[in-house]
């Protein structure tokens, strides 16, 4: 990873960002587990309606975690944009511009602006930020981000092509082709994420990663709900063989454990947020998770420099 010269403001901003990123990851994971997973799985519990009281308490806790994540995103994204703008490098300024374009697009989408424009802005901003991350990573570490960028564009284009006013309105074959390509690339990204971390975790970590992969494989094989959750939560159609998702989950777990084990916590949180946000255009909330994750990843060299300065 390239070491970057920093201004004092950028270094100070990065040290303030660490607790914000940790809180964001905790809130987003809580939301993912309760609101997007538990409440959508609990419908399978027989006679769940007889446990309406506890269910509603848990469901409300999930919604609260969602709103905590939203507030933290609203704080983190402008902070990251300001930090990048103060970073003094063109690629960081491009990152700041990407965040600003995303925030404008998300605000526009909320206020009812033309959906084609806001979706194009959000998708373009995501692609630009992926370019910034790939540029920072360099070499083989950039490969997963390039694959993720292609997956994001393919998945997002499926939505863009079907917006009112778009010529052709995205015929069925084109839409299906984009979805298929996005699925392959999305799983491809998960499988090659260890390149981001630059290695594999220790033996215990590898065992854990294989265990997570096995669970994902079994889940895809045995429970159709897993495929629906994958579609809802991460934007995958679940059309590939179950083993592909198992390998993807194992590889991504290995990458997260490697990053964490090597003290690259901000990057670990960044990758976690990207995974929680998913692929393509789902909602501005999930896109914001991806943008925040990418921005944290891009900010990591600034943190490394800050640590070096501290020493």
């Amino acid at each position: 990873m390239t070491a970057l010269p920093r201004t004092p403001n950028a270094v100070m901003g990065h040290s303030l960002l660490r607790p914000l990123a940790a809180g964001l990851a905790a809130a987003a994971l809580t939301e993912l587990l309760i609101l997007r997973t538990f409440t959508r799985t609990a419908v399978h519990i027989p006679a769940i309606e007889s446990m309406a009281g506890p269910y509603e308490v848990i469901s409300d806790a999930g919604r609260f975690a969602y709103f905590v994540t939203v507030v933290l995103l609203l704080a983190a994204l402008p902070a990251l944009a300001l930090m990048f703008a103060a970073g003094g490098e063109r690629r960081l300024q491009a990152g700041a511009a990407a965040i600003v374009v995303f925030l404008a697009g998300a605000a526009g989408a909320r206020l009812g602006a033309d959906e084609l424009l806001t979706s194009a802005a959000i998708l373009g901003a995501t692609a630009l930020l992926i370019g910034v991350v790939a540029s920072s990573a360099g070499g083989r570490s950039a490969v997963p981000w390039l694959v993720f960028g292609a997956a994001t564009l393919a998945a997002g284009s499926n939505i863009l092509l079907q917006q009112p006013g778009v010529p052709g309105q995205g015929d069925a074959e084109t839409v299906r082709a984009f979805l298929t390509v996005a699925e392959y690339l999305g799983i491809g990204f998960a499988i090659v994420t260890p390149l981001v971390a630059g290695g594999l975790p220790a033996v215990r970590g590898q065992v854990l990663a294989v265990g997570v992969g096995g669970l994902a494989f079994a889940g895809m094989l045995a429970a159709p709900t897993t495929r629906i959750l994958l579609l809802w939560n991460q934007g995958f159609t679940g059309s590939l063989p179950a083993i592909a998702y198992g390998v993807g989950a194992a590889a991504m777990t290995a990458a997260l454990l490697t990053l964490w084990g090597r003290g690259r916590r901000i990057e670990c949180i960044g990758l976690l947020l990207v995974a929680a946000g998913g692929m393509g255009l789902q909602s501005t909330y999930q896109s914001a998770l991806v943008i925040a994750g990418l921005a944290l990843f891009a900010s990591a060299p600034m943190g490394a420099n800050a640590a070096a300065t501290d020493r």
């Binding site: 399978h44 309406a52 507030v71 063109r90 690629r91 959906e115 630009l128 009112p164 159709p224 789902q282």
Partner: protein, 330 residues
Amino acid sequence: MFTTNIAPRFRSARLRTIGAVAAVLVAAGALQLFDANPAASQTLRLTAYSASDDPGLDPAHKAWKNAVAVQVPLSSQAGAYVSGGGSIPMVTAKALHVDNRLLIRVEWADATRDESTTRVQDFADAVALEFPARAATSVPAICMGQADAGVNIWHWRADSQAGFKEPAQVYAGSIVDMYPSRDTLFFTARAAGNPYSNPEAGPVQTLVSQTFGTLTAATVQDVQGSGVYKDGTWAVVFERAYTGADGNQASFSDGARTDMAFAVWNGSEGDRNGKKSVSQFVQLSIMGGDAPGSDGANRMTVLIAVALLVGLSGLGVTLATVGTRGGKVR
């Protein structure tokens, strides 16, 4: 001395942290309390524009030609006890509104026309639309809703539309010695109140549900529908007034947005009940004006959107290319 210098700073930092955490929690609580969600959906959007001509229940009416179509991908879905579905990969959906009535047209390719369920081994083609019973921060579980967020389902069946077939029509050469009465009593399902056995109920049934095991017919059946099978394709139109009959049924209005999902059953593949092809939720947007044509304003919007996407993505690709080649972007 060291302690006295450091302690106030530490206390101050801790107070700042506590204050920041409290501010985040209060802000989140306020957003939840007022159900003020700053995020917006970005899923597929089915837009219902105003129609000058009322197409009624005719799927081939010219009014549908100008309606905006979206291709909604479906995937196999299964419940706890049966598995399968997935033979219908996609539906084409269109929507219009006329005089405070919502019309939704669903079209899908199906090589077989399955509209008889007289034999126990036969199953009918069908399609259903699912709406959240009421708008909320999060959409309900797509599988029959959830305890705190119900769903409203409009279910059209080809066999209900085709009507009953006499057994002799299905079993050629069969002979009935004596059939003493045509009273309802002798049609046991009809006598028991099964709406699918009632020839007067129409092809569409309105259902409400708040999780598995709670699916039931709505008290008021006010959704109309009609399907046409032609050249290997089903086209079905649903129609209902904006206002739902009660709080368990979705209501609509000009300018409103809600979520909706699709399900298709392919009878020849043995689809029934939970064995079907399903979509995820897409967004239904009801616009006050007419459908967009190919005027300059739309072309300009498309051009700006393409410029935004290509420009930003191109910049990203350039940065990535320079970075991966070991170049510096200063």
